[in-house]
């Protein structure tokens, strides 16, 4: 019975809400949430536009009928809500839940907001509108992958806070919140939100429920299954920041059938893709196993099509150990990129927007379509991350076939100097891991990193030139040298290219991968743990930097990263606020002060400023005489003095009339009168 009573009490209609401001604030909040939903494509623009118009109409209807809402409106609202929920559950049960839960949910919430707007008589109903708009924002936020969504969040938060403060004003019988109190409340709210933002761990994809796949704007490729880079000329360098051709995406030349270490494009800084992942990783694109002294190549004959539907179950790559932690990564492609399917470590499942992909034994996955802006795919990888101690004590029996071992130990020529150097460096090491670390340490201590290296002489070997020449290079020379030294010691190694994790955006929880995050590193094979990543470039110091050039580069980079539009908007807003505050402070507090100010202003304009020892009445009399306005100024001044010194306040209407009269009156400057009239 208590529960029934509670329900009955909760269903009692509240008093009608008369505040127009509160209704407008709630309407704006709801409209902002619908617009946010449309911005991420959860509802179509047409649907959003119709919903906005209906919500506005419903709000007006609710306000006009707030005192006595018509009974049919409540029945209609209830029926429409039931229909919306029925449609929602039908959509869930009749379609693939995994990929269709977001759109029906956003449509359901939009429908509820539209329907509910026609029956919002009381304050409690308006609060429900605010709560439902929060739900809609959450659904939209689940699909948002960039900071532009923040504009909608800011608008929604501003309107929502306005609505909440208006709710307090209305419920407190017309109370006014001080500016200081409002600022304190907002600061405290921000602090609480920031605290929980800092304390809570970053969100992770904990369940395989909703993996959206989307083809995007990549378009078809010339030869399905072949890397797009193959169709271009290696001598053709792409222009920086203009990846108009998918041949040399972002200026990096390595996403192709071969990696020529003698060439280097100028890397762009454009955003290539955003990655939602449970942990940062090197996003592997492809690996190379054959080295010819200048270029790495991969065997194309191993690539074969997999004809399945999502999720693709991928074979275990050669040499991989299929144990480890499952790691889900969703890639949101932001710009034209290679037709490689990037992933962390060895991929075992793939959700992709096509019915086939091309797969190589080394784990390289090639898309049959071009991957452009809007492409979305998800990969599940098995991440095997042993500790150094585990790698040192790795005593498993070898699982690679002799042919494969020979393939990953291939060298175009004996490299006697390299072998001697590698042996001398690793003379005291007994395990593979220690040898790798010793070689990396030596490279870090004896080489330098630079993107500006002299061209490789014709016929020269990249590794010999790097290790025994100027010892200056970038990731490709450095990693290739490590791979060759390892191979000269009989340790299976290969070259991997892809992207470093990129910068982490804590708001979107996405890793931002730019074109200049393209990278090359080494994968070393351990019998018990498969292929393990080693990045020798990370320990190589830059070569003799030029202070001036470095400073200019840093400044230019910093200026490029500044969000100028946002900065200008914020500065303009702050300036407007400062101007408004200063204007408000400079404004006289009382009507008498306003009239006195206007009197002095009028006199100054007429060249007759007020003298220091002159009373306002005397001054006004002289203005009347000067302008021939009768006794206008004198009358106003007398009222001001009566208020200021006699405590005789005229009625509010008279005060307003005097202020208006003082503002509209002008003193005409007679001919011959000059500034000297002021004494």
């Amino acid at each position: 019975m208590r529960a029934l009573d509670a329900i009955r009490r909760a269903n009692l209609p509240g008093p009608p809400e008369d505040s127009v401001r509160l209704r407008v604030a709630c309407l704006a909040t709801v409209l902002a949430s619908i617009a946010a939903c449309a911005s991420v494509g959860e509802v179509s623009r047409l649907t959003a536009g119709v919903a906005m118009v209906l919500v506005a109409a419903g709000t007006v209807f609710s306000h006009r009928t707030r005192v006595q809402p018509p009974g049919w409106a409540k029945v209609m609202v209830a029926a429409a809500a039931i229909a919306a929920f029925a449609w929602f559950f039908h959509s869930l049960t009749s379609a693939d839940v995994i990929t269709t839960i977001d759109a029906p949910l956003s449509l359901l919430l939009t429908s509820v907001l539209v329907v509910h707007s026609f029956h919002v008589p009381s304050r409690r109903d308006l609060l429900f509108s605010l709560a439902a708009s929060a739900g809609l924002m959450a659904v939209a936020g689940a699909q948002a992958i960039d900071l532009r969504f923040g504009l909608y969040v800011v608008a929604w938060v501003c309107f929502g806070l306005w609505g909440l403060t208006e709710m307090w004003t209305s419920s407190s019988g017309g109370g006014r919140m001080s500016v200081a109190g409002l600022v304190c409340a907002l600061a405290a709210m921000s602090a609480a939100a920031a605290a929980i933002f800092v304390v809570l761990p970053a969100p992770v994809v904990a369940s395989r429920v909703s993996f959206v796949t989307q083809a995007g704007a990549g378009g078809p490729v010339g030869v399905a299954g072949a890397l797009a880079g193959d169709s271009g000329s290696p001598a053709q360098l792409s222009r920086s920041g203009s990846p108009s051709s998918r041949i040399r995406v972002g200026g990096y030349l390595g996403f192709a059938g071969s990696l020529n270490t003698a060439l280097r494009g100028s890397l762009a800084t454009t955003l290539v893709m955003q990655v939602r992942a449970q942990r940062p990783s090197y996003w592997v694109g492809e690996t190379f196993d054959t080295w010819n002294g200048q270029s790495w190549t991969e065997p194309q004959e191993s690539s074969r099509p997999l004809r399945e539907s999502s999720p693709f179950v991928l074979p275990v790559p050669v040499g991989a150990v299929p144990v480890g932690q499952a790691d889900l990564q969703t890639f949101y492609v932001a710009g034209a990129t290679a037709d490689l399917v990037f992933h962390a470590e060895s991929a075992d499942e793939l959700w992709f927007p096509t019915s086939r992909v091309f797969y190589s034994d080394d784990g390289t996955i090639v898309s049959p379509i071009g991957l452009g802006s809007g492409s979305i795919y998800t990969v599940e990888s098995q991440v095997n991350a042993p500790t150094p101690a585990q790698l040192r004590s790795d005593a498993n029996e070898q699982t690679l076939s002799p042919g494969t071992l020979e393939e990953y130990g291939q060298l175009p020529h004996p490299y006697p100097r390299v072998q001697a150097l590698a042996r001398s460096i690793t003379a005291g090491d007994t395990t593979t891991y220690d040898k790798v670390q010793s070689l990396i340490g030596w490279i870090g201590a004896h080489t330098h990193y630079s993107l500006d290296i002299p061209p490789l002489p014709a016929g020269a070997d990249t590794v010999d030139e790097f290790l025994f020449g100027n010892r200056v290079g970038f990731c490709e020379q450095i990693s290739t040298s490590l791979a060759v030294m390892l191979r000269s010691l009989g340790i299976p190694a290969r070259e991997a290219v892809g992207y470093v994790p990129g910068g982490y955006d804590p708001i979107t929880d996405l890793w931002q991968v730019h074109a200049d995050d393209a990278h090359a590193w080494v994968q070393v094979w351990f019998p018990g743990y498969g292929w393990q990543n080693f990045d020798p470039t990370a320990v190589v110091p830059p070569s003799n930097p030029s202070p001036g050039a470095t400073a200019l580069k840093d400044v230019a980079g910093a200026l490029r990263r500044v969000p100028w539009v946002e900065v200008v908007v914020v500065l303009a807003g702050a300036g407007l606020v400062v101007l408004a505050v200063r204007r408000r402070r400079a404004r006289p507090a009382t009507w008498a002060a306003r009239v006195a100010r206007d009197t002095e202003r009028a006199g100054r304009r007429a060249g007759r400023p007020r003298r220091p020892a002159e009373t306002l009445v005397e001054y006004a009399a002289s203005l009347d005489a000067l302008a021939g306005t009768g006794s206008t100024w004198g009358r106003l001044a007398s009222s001001v003095e009566a208020s200021a010194y006699g405590g005789r306040e005229p009625p509010p209407e008279a005060q307003r009339a005097m202020v208006a009269e003082a503002r509209s009156s002008r003193v005409r400057r007679p001919a011959g009168a000059g500034v000297s009239a002021g004494g």
Binding site: S178, A185, L200, V204, V205, D505
Partner: protein
């Protein structure tokens, strides 16, 4: 009085807020969407301030009584003026009254400051007890606190004017006792004369004595009718005492209306008082201060 604010209603809103935030966070965390978690953080911040902000407002509220009348009548409203730094909902508890809002109003410079209390019984009050409440800044949760506000001046709540009782000369009657007894120390002053034995010490004119060097007394012109002495003996039962006080006030008022001087004898917390009353206001104040005679201190 409680120092800290407490929820005006049960903690259901707080519980609901916590559940909303927890569910939101669970969905956001497991969904892997940073924006959802960010929005959840903002909602959490708003709920935090909406739920806990009023607690801070009510706990730190500065509420003082700026003005209050010195006299009131039981059952009739008494307006008091208060100063409040922030907008507060006030419900007078003792004496009771209607719920009102005080503090800054929406119009610039406008302030609501009037609180109306309705004393139920006569008495002397130095404080009023009110429940103050606030839901600022978001009207999501009301918090309330009971506070005792000292009045700037003592409020004497006189009883209602009851039906007058007919004067009785019988000294044995308990309630509304009226005795005709001439008093030598009452009357209108006319001059000074030499002291004669038998004169009351109360009418010694000290200034004239100092001037003349002899003991002088005020010479009084006796009123046409002797003063009427009314002795009030209130019972312990508050309701009955109120009824008796109302009757006494009615009687005194009627006597004063006829021009008869009245001596009112009451028992006050400081002891028995027998003093003349000249108007209804004075009588009301005396009756407001009057207390019942305790059983263990019965009159001899």
């Amino acid at each position: 009085m409680s120092r800290w604010a407490r929820p005006a209603r049960p903690v259901a809103p707080i519980f609901v807020a916590v559940v909303i935030v927890a569910l939101w966070w669970l969905v956001a965390h497991n969904g892997g969407s940073g924006w959802v978690q960010f929005l959840g953080d903002l909602v959490f911040g708003a709920l935090c301030i909406g739920v806990l902000g009023p607690w801070l407002v009510v706990t730190r509220a500065r509420l003082t009584v700026r003005g209050a009348p010195s006299d009131g009548v039981a059952g009739l409203p008494v307006d008091i003026r208060v100063d409040a730094g922030s907008r507060l909902r006030i419900r007078p508890v003792d004496p009771p009254g209607d719920e009102v809002f005080v503090g800054p109003a929406r119009q610039k410079g406008a302030v609501d400051d009037r609180v109306t209390v309705v004393p139920v019984r006569r008495g002397v009050r130095d404080t009023v007890t009110v429940d103050i409440a606030s839901a600022a800044p978001f009207a999501l949760q009301w918090w309330t606190r009971r506070v005792q506000l000292p009045l700037p001046s003592t409020l004497h709540v006189s009883p209602r004017r009851g039906r007058p009782r007919p004067p009785s000369t019988s000294p044995q009657e308990d309630v509304g006792e009226v005795r005709q007894q001439p008093r030598t120390d009452m009357g209108l002053p006319r001059g000074a004369r030499r002291y004669v034995p038998g004169d009351s010490r109360r009418i010694v004119h000290w200034r004239a004595t100092a001037h003349a060097g002899k003991l002088m007394v005020r010479e009084l012109e006796q009123p046409s009718a002797g003063p009427v002495t009314i002795t009030v003996d209130l019972p312990d039962d508050p309701e009955e005492a109120e009824r008796v006080a109302e009757g006494v006030l009615g009687t005194v008022a009627q006597l004063l209306d006829t021009g008869a001087p009245v001596l009112l004898g009451t028992l006050e917390p400081s002891g028995p008082v027998l003093a003349p009353v000249t108007d209804r206001l004075g009588a009301g104040r005396r009756l407001a201060r009057a207390v019942a005679r305790r059983a263990d201190a019965a009159a001899p």
